[in-house]
Protein backbone atom coordinates (compact mmCIF):
# COMPACT_ATOMS: atom_id res chain seq x y z
CA UNK A 1 0.00 0.00 0.00
CA UNK A 2 2.70 2.45 1.06
CA UNK A 3 4.92 1.37 -1.82
CA UNK A 4 2.08 1.86 -4.26
CA UNK A 5 1.46 5.32 -2.86
CA UNK A 6 5.15 6.12 -3.22
CA UNK A 7 5.04 5.11 -6.89
CA UNK A 8 1.89 7.15 -7.41
CA UNK A 9 3.50 10.25 -5.90
CA UNK A 10 6.45 9.96 -8.27
CA UNK A 11 4.15 9.67 -11.30
CA UNK A 12 3.28 13.12 -12.70
CA UNK A 13 0.00 11.75 -14.00
CA UNK A 14 -1.13 11.35 -10.39
CA UNK A 15 -0.72 15.06 -9.85
CA UNK A 16 -2.68 15.86 -12.99
CA UNK A 17 -5.36 13.50 -11.75
CA UNK A 18 -5.41 15.19 -8.37
CA UNK A 19 -5.70 18.56 -10.05
CA UNK A 20 -8.71 17.35 -12.05
CA UNK A 21 -10.24 15.80 -8.95
CA UNK A 22 -9.75 19.05 -7.05
CA UNK A 23 -11.32 21.08 -9.87
CA UNK A 24 -14.27 18.71 -10.06
CA UNK A 25 -14.96 18.55 -6.33
CA UNK A 26 -14.21 22.20 -5.68
CA UNK A 27 -16.49 23.45 -8.42
CA UNK A 28 -19.21 21.01 -7.34
CA UNK A 29 -18.98 22.57 -3.91
CA UNK A 30 -19.32 26.02 -5.47
CA UNK A 31 -22.43 24.83 -7.31
CA UNK A 32 -23.88 23.72 -4.01
CA UNK A 33 -23.07 26.74 -1.85
CA UNK A 34 -22.59 29.74 -4.12
CA UNK A 35 -24.85 32.66 -3.36
CA UNK A 36 -25.08 33.66 -7.00
CA UNK A 37 -27.09 31.58 -9.44
CA UNK A 38 -24.91 32.48 -12.40
CA UNK A 39 -21.77 31.49 -10.52
CA UNK A 40 -23.38 28.18 -9.71
CA UNK A 41 -24.05 27.65 -13.40
CA UNK A 42 -20.49 28.48 -14.40
CA UNK A 43 -19.08 26.33 -11.62
CA UNK A 44 -21.14 23.57 -13.18
CA UNK A 45 -19.17 24.19 -16.38
CA UNK A 46 -15.96 23.44 -14.51
CA UNK A 47 -17.51 20.37 -12.90
CA UNK A 48 -18.53 18.98 -16.28
CA UNK A 49 -15.08 19.72 -17.64
CA UNK A 50 -13.43 18.04 -14.68
CA UNK A 51 -15.63 14.97 -15.08
CA UNK A 52 -14.60 14.83 -18.74
CA UNK A 53 -11.02 14.81 -17.47
CA UNK A 54 -11.84 11.93 -15.12
CA UNK A 55 -13.28 10.02 -18.09
CA UNK A 56 -9.98 10.59 -19.86
CA UNK A 57 -8.21 9.01 -16.89
CA UNK A 58 -10.59 6.07 -17.19
CA UNK A 59 -9.69 5.66 -20.89
CA UNK A 60 -13.23 6.51 -21.95
CA UNK A 61 -12.33 8.77 -24.84
CA UNK A 62 -15.72 8.77 -26.51
CA UNK A 63 -17.56 9.60 -23.31
CA UNK A 64 -15.14 12.40 -22.50
CA UNK A 65 -15.94 14.11 -25.79
CA UNK A 66 -19.65 13.28 -25.47
CA UNK A 67 -19.59 14.82 -22.00
CA UNK A 68 -18.25 18.05 -23.45
CA UNK A 69 -20.64 17.99 -26.39
CA UNK A 70 -23.84 17.22 -24.47
CA UNK A 71 -23.23 18.63 -21.02
CA UNK A 72 -21.10 21.69 -21.75
CA UNK A 73 -22.47 22.46 -25.21
CA UNK A 74 -26.05 21.44 -24.53
CA UNK A 75 -27.33 21.07 -21.01
CA UNK A 76 -25.23 23.88 -19.57
CA UNK A 77 -26.35 26.26 -22.32
CA UNK A 78 -29.93 25.22 -21.63
CA UNK A 79 -29.45 25.89 -17.91
CA UNK A 80 -27.89 29.28 -18.63
CA UNK A 81 -30.80 30.15 -20.91
CA UNK A 82 -33.12 29.00 -18.14
CA UNK A 83 -31.30 31.24 -15.66
CA UNK A 84 -31.55 34.21 -17.96
CA UNK A 85 -35.15 33.66 -19.00
CA UNK A 86 -36.88 32.79 -15.75
CA UNK A 87 -35.82 35.67 -13.61
CA UNK A 88 -36.94 39.06 -12.73
CA UNK A 89 -33.37 40.14 -12.91
CA UNK A 90 -32.43 43.41 -11.36
CA UNK A 91 -28.83 42.78 -10.55
CA UNK A 92 -25.94 40.98 -12.14
CA UNK A 93 -25.58 38.80 -9.06
CA UNK A 94 -28.71 36.71 -9.09
CA UNK A 95 -29.37 35.67 -5.58
CA UNK A 96 -29.65 31.99 -4.99
CA UNK A 97 -30.76 31.54 -1.46
CA UNK A 98 -30.69 28.27 0.34
CA UNK A 99 -32.74 26.96 3.21
CA UNK A 100 -31.90 24.56 6.00
CA UNK A 101 -28.19 24.36 5.18
CA UNK A 102 -27.45 22.52 8.42
CA UNK A 103 -29.93 19.71 7.82
CA UNK A 104 -28.78 19.43 4.21
CA UNK A 105 -25.14 19.35 5.24
CA UNK A 106 -25.77 16.65 7.81
CA UNK A 107 -27.71 14.44 5.42
CA UNK A 108 -25.37 14.82 2.48
CA UNK A 109 -22.31 14.56 4.73
CA UNK A 110 -23.64 11.32 6.11
CA UNK A 111 -24.31 10.08 2.57
CA UNK A 112 -20.80 10.98 1.50
CA UNK A 113 -19.21 9.27 4.47
CA UNK A 114 -21.29 6.13 3.98
CA UNK A 115 -20.52 5.93 0.26
CA UNK A 116 -16.83 6.67 0.80
CA UNK A 117 -16.70 4.03 3.53
CA UNK A 118 -18.25 1.45 1.24
CA UNK A 119 -15.95 2.41 -1.64
CA UNK A 120 -12.81 2.22 0.43
CA UNK A 121 -13.63 -0.83 2.51
CA UNK A 122 -14.95 -3.13 -0.20
CA UNK A 123 -12.42 -5.55 -1.62
CA UNK A 124 -13.04 -4.84 -5.30
CA UNK A 125 -12.18 -7.58 -7.75
CA UNK A 126 -10.13 -5.31 -9.98
CA UNK A 127 -9.13 -6.68 -13.34
CA UNK A 128 -6.80 -5.19 -15.92
CA UNK A 129 -7.76 -5.06 -19.53
CA UNK A 130 -5.77 -3.25 -22.17
CA UNK A 131 -6.73 0.38 -22.65
CA UNK A 132 -8.18 0.65 -26.12
CA UNK A 133 -10.36 2.90 -28.21
CA UNK A 134 -13.90 2.81 -26.91
CA UNK A 135 -15.85 4.41 -29.76
CA UNK A 136 -15.80 1.29 -31.94
CA UNK A 137 -16.79 -0.89 -29.00
CA UNK A 138 -19.65 1.44 -28.14
CA UNK A 139 -20.82 1.36 -31.74
CA UNK A 140 -20.68 -2.43 -31.69
CA UNK A 141 -22.68 -2.49 -28.48
CA UNK A 142 -25.28 -0.15 -30.00
CA UNK A 143 -25.96 -2.42 -32.96
CA UNK A 144 -25.51 -5.68 -31.12
CA UNK A 145 -26.11 -6.33 -27.48
CA UNK A 146 -27.74 -2.97 -26.70
CA UNK A 147 -29.76 -2.47 -29.86
CA UNK A 148 -33.07 -2.24 -28.01
CA UNK A 149 -31.97 0.47 -25.55
CA UNK A 150 -30.45 2.29 -28.50
CA UNK A 151 -33.76 2.36 -30.35
CA UNK A 152 -35.79 3.03 -27.21
CA UNK A 153 -33.60 6.00 -26.38
CA UNK A 154 -34.79 7.59 -29.61
CA UNK A 155 -38.37 7.16 -28.38
CA UNK A 156 -37.33 8.76 -25.10
CA UNK A 157 -35.83 11.65 -26.98
CA UNK A 158 -38.97 11.97 -29.07
CA UNK A 159 -41.05 12.11 -25.91
CA UNK A 160 -38.74 14.69 -24.40
CA UNK A 161 -38.87 16.78 -27.56
CA UNK A 162 -42.65 16.75 -27.79
CA UNK A 163 -43.11 17.30 -24.09
CA UNK A 164 -40.63 20.15 -23.85
CA UNK A 165 -42.02 21.82 -26.95
CA UNK A 166 -45.55 21.50 -25.58
CA UNK A 167 -44.59 22.93 -22.19
CA UNK A 168 -42.72 25.80 -23.74
CA UNK A 169 -45.59 26.59 -26.08
CA UNK A 170 -48.58 26.23 -23.78
CA UNK A 171 -49.01 29.50 -21.98
CA UNK A 172 -49.15 31.81 -24.93
CA UNK A 173 -52.84 31.03 -25.32
CA UNK A 174 -53.62 33.10 -22.30
CA UNK A 175 -51.25 35.88 -23.17
Amino acid sequence: MIAALGLAVKNPATWVFLAFAAVTCGSALVVAVSRSLVYSAYALLLTFFGVAGLYAFLDADFLAAAQLLVYVGGILVLILFGVMLTHKIRDINLSNESTNPVVGAVISGFLFLALAYVSLMTDWQVVEHPASATSGEIGRAFVGKYLLPFEVSSVLLLGALIGAAYLARREKREA
Binding site: Q67, V70, A116, I138, A160, R170
Partner: protein
Protein backbone atom coordinates in the same frame (compact mmCIF):
# COMPACT_ATOMS: atom_id res chain seq x y z
CA UNK B 1 -1.64 0.22 -15.76
CA UNK B 2 -4.12 2.86 -14.74
CA UNK B 3 -2.71 5.87 -12.99
CA UNK B 4 -4.85 5.69 -9.89
CA UNK B 5 -7.04 3.03 -8.40
CA UNK B 6 -10.77 2.50 -8.50
CA UNK B 7 -11.35 3.84 -4.99
CA UNK B 8 -10.26 7.35 -5.92
CA UNK B 9 -12.93 7.61 -8.57
CA UNK B 10 -15.56 6.17 -6.28
CA UNK B 11 -14.76 8.69 -3.57
CA UNK B 12 -14.90 11.58 -6.04
CA UNK B 13 -18.21 10.27 -7.36
CA UNK B 14 -19.51 10.00 -3.79
CA UNK B 15 -18.49 13.61 -3.21
CA UNK B 16 -20.27 14.75 -6.37
CA UNK B 17 -23.33 12.79 -5.31
CA UNK B 18 -23.32 14.34 -1.84
CA UNK B 19 -22.99 17.88 -3.21
CA UNK B 20 -25.83 17.14 -5.60
CA UNK B 21 -28.03 15.96 -2.75
CA UNK B 22 -27.06 19.01 -0.71
CA UNK B 23 -28.01 21.28 -3.62
CA UNK B 24 -31.37 19.60 -4.04
CA UNK B 25 -32.13 19.69 -0.32
CA UNK B 26 -31.21 23.28 0.35
CA UNK B 27 -32.04 25.26 -2.77
CA UNK B 28 -35.35 26.95 -3.33
CA UNK B 29 -34.70 27.84 -6.93
CA UNK B 30 -35.89 25.24 -9.43
CA UNK B 31 -32.95 25.82 -11.80
CA UNK B 32 -30.54 25.21 -8.94
CA UNK B 33 -32.29 21.97 -8.13
CA UNK B 34 -31.84 20.92 -11.73
CA UNK B 35 -28.11 21.60 -11.35
CA UNK B 36 -28.11 19.31 -8.32
CA UNK B 37 -29.75 16.58 -10.38
CA UNK B 38 -27.11 16.99 -13.06
CA UNK B 39 -24.39 16.61 -10.43
CA UNK B 40 -25.95 13.38 -9.23
CA UNK B 41 -26.21 12.02 -12.75
CA UNK B 42 -22.57 12.88 -13.32
CA UNK B 43 -21.63 11.07 -10.14
CA UNK B 44 -23.49 7.99 -11.34
CA UNK B 45 -21.73 8.23 -14.67
CA UNK B 46 -18.29 8.43 -13.09
CA UNK B 47 -19.13 5.32 -11.11
CA UNK B 48 -20.34 3.44 -14.18
CA UNK B 49 -17.28 4.28 -16.22
CA UNK B 50 -14.92 3.52 -13.33
CA UNK B 51 -16.47 0.09 -12.85
CA UNK B 52 -16.36 -0.42 -16.59
CA UNK B 53 -12.63 0.25 -16.53
CA UNK B 54 -11.64 -1.67 -13.44
CA UNK B 55 -14.08 -4.38 -12.49
CA UNK B 56 -14.23 -7.78 -14.11
CA UNK B 57 -17.31 -7.98 -16.34
CA UNK B 58 -20.00 -10.43 -15.34
CA UNK B 59 -20.02 -13.54 -17.46
CA UNK B 60 -23.69 -13.02 -18.24
CA UNK B 61 -22.82 -10.65 -21.06
CA UNK B 62 -22.64 -12.96 -24.02
CA UNK B 63 -21.63 -16.61 -23.93
CA UNK B 64 -19.73 -17.76 -20.88
CA UNK B 65 -16.57 -18.44 -22.76
CA UNK B 66 -16.34 -15.01 -24.31
CA UNK B 67 -14.68 -12.78 -21.78
CA UNK B 68 -12.34 -10.79 -23.97
CA UNK B 69 -13.13 -11.77 -27.56
CA UNK B 70 -10.53 -11.32 -30.24
CA UNK B 71 -10.67 -8.25 -32.38
CA UNK B 72 -12.53 -9.01 -35.62
CA UNK B 73 -14.07 -12.28 -34.50
CA UNK B 74 -17.80 -12.92 -34.84
CA UNK B 75 -18.22 -12.93 -31.07
CA UNK B 76 -16.55 -9.55 -30.95
CA UNK B 77 -18.89 -8.22 -33.60
CA UNK B 78 -22.02 -9.31 -31.76
CA UNK B 79 -21.09 -8.75 -28.16
CA UNK B 80 -18.25 -6.29 -28.34
CA UNK B 81 -15.86 -6.28 -25.45
CA UNK B 82 -17.98 -7.07 -22.40
CA UNK B 83 -16.27 -4.43 -20.29
CA UNK B 84 -17.74 -1.72 -22.50
CA UNK B 85 -21.13 -2.16 -20.80
CA UNK B 86 -20.39 0.55 -18.25
CA UNK B 87 -19.46 3.01 -20.96
CA UNK B 88 -22.64 2.22 -22.90
CA UNK B 89 -24.70 2.70 -19.78
CA UNK B 90 -23.02 6.03 -19.19
CA UNK B 91 -23.91 7.03 -22.76
CA UNK B 92 -27.55 6.19 -22.03
CA UNK B 93 -27.38 8.17 -18.81
CA UNK B 94 -26.21 11.14 -20.87
CA UNK B 95 -29.25 10.66 -23.12
CA UNK B 96 -31.45 10.53 -20.06
CA UNK B 97 -29.84 13.63 -18.59
CA UNK B 98 -30.44 15.57 -21.79
CA UNK B 99 -34.08 14.50 -22.00
CA UNK B 100 -34.58 15.26 -18.33
CA UNK B 101 -32.98 18.68 -18.63
CA UNK B 102 -35.18 19.57 -21.59
CA UNK B 103 -38.42 18.53 -19.88
CA UNK B 104 -37.42 19.97 -16.51
CA UNK B 105 -36.58 23.33 -17.98
CA UNK B 106 -39.86 23.26 -19.90
CA UNK B 107 -41.63 22.67 -16.58
CA UNK B 108 -39.65 25.42 -14.89
CA UNK B 109 -40.70 27.76 -17.65
CA UNK B 110 -44.31 26.75 -17.08
CA UNK B 111 -44.02 27.39 -13.34
CA UNK B 112 -42.42 30.73 -14.02
CA UNK B 113 -45.26 31.76 -16.26
CA UNK B 114 -48.02 30.81 -13.89
CA UNK B 115 -46.37 31.75 -10.59
CA UNK B 116 -44.04 34.49 -11.80
CA UNK B 117 -41.22 32.89 -9.87
CA UNK B 118 -39.26 29.67 -9.90
CA UNK B 119 -39.28 29.12 -6.17
CA UNK B 120 -40.30 25.51 -5.67
CA UNK B 121 -41.84 26.25 -2.27
CA UNK B 122 -44.35 28.51 -3.95
CA UNK B 123 -45.29 26.07 -6.68
CA UNK B 124 -47.88 24.14 -4.76
CA UNK B 125 -50.75 24.12 -7.21
CA UNK B 126 -50.93 21.35 -9.75
CA UNK B 127 -53.04 23.36 -12.15
CA UNK B 128 -51.83 26.75 -13.25
Amino acid sequence: MPVVGLEWFLVIAAFLFATGVFTILTRKNAVSILMGVELILNAANVNLVAFSRFVKPAATLGPQSVEFPLQGSAAHAVYGQPWIAGNVFAAFVIVLAAAEAAVALGLILGIYRTAGDVDVDEATALKG
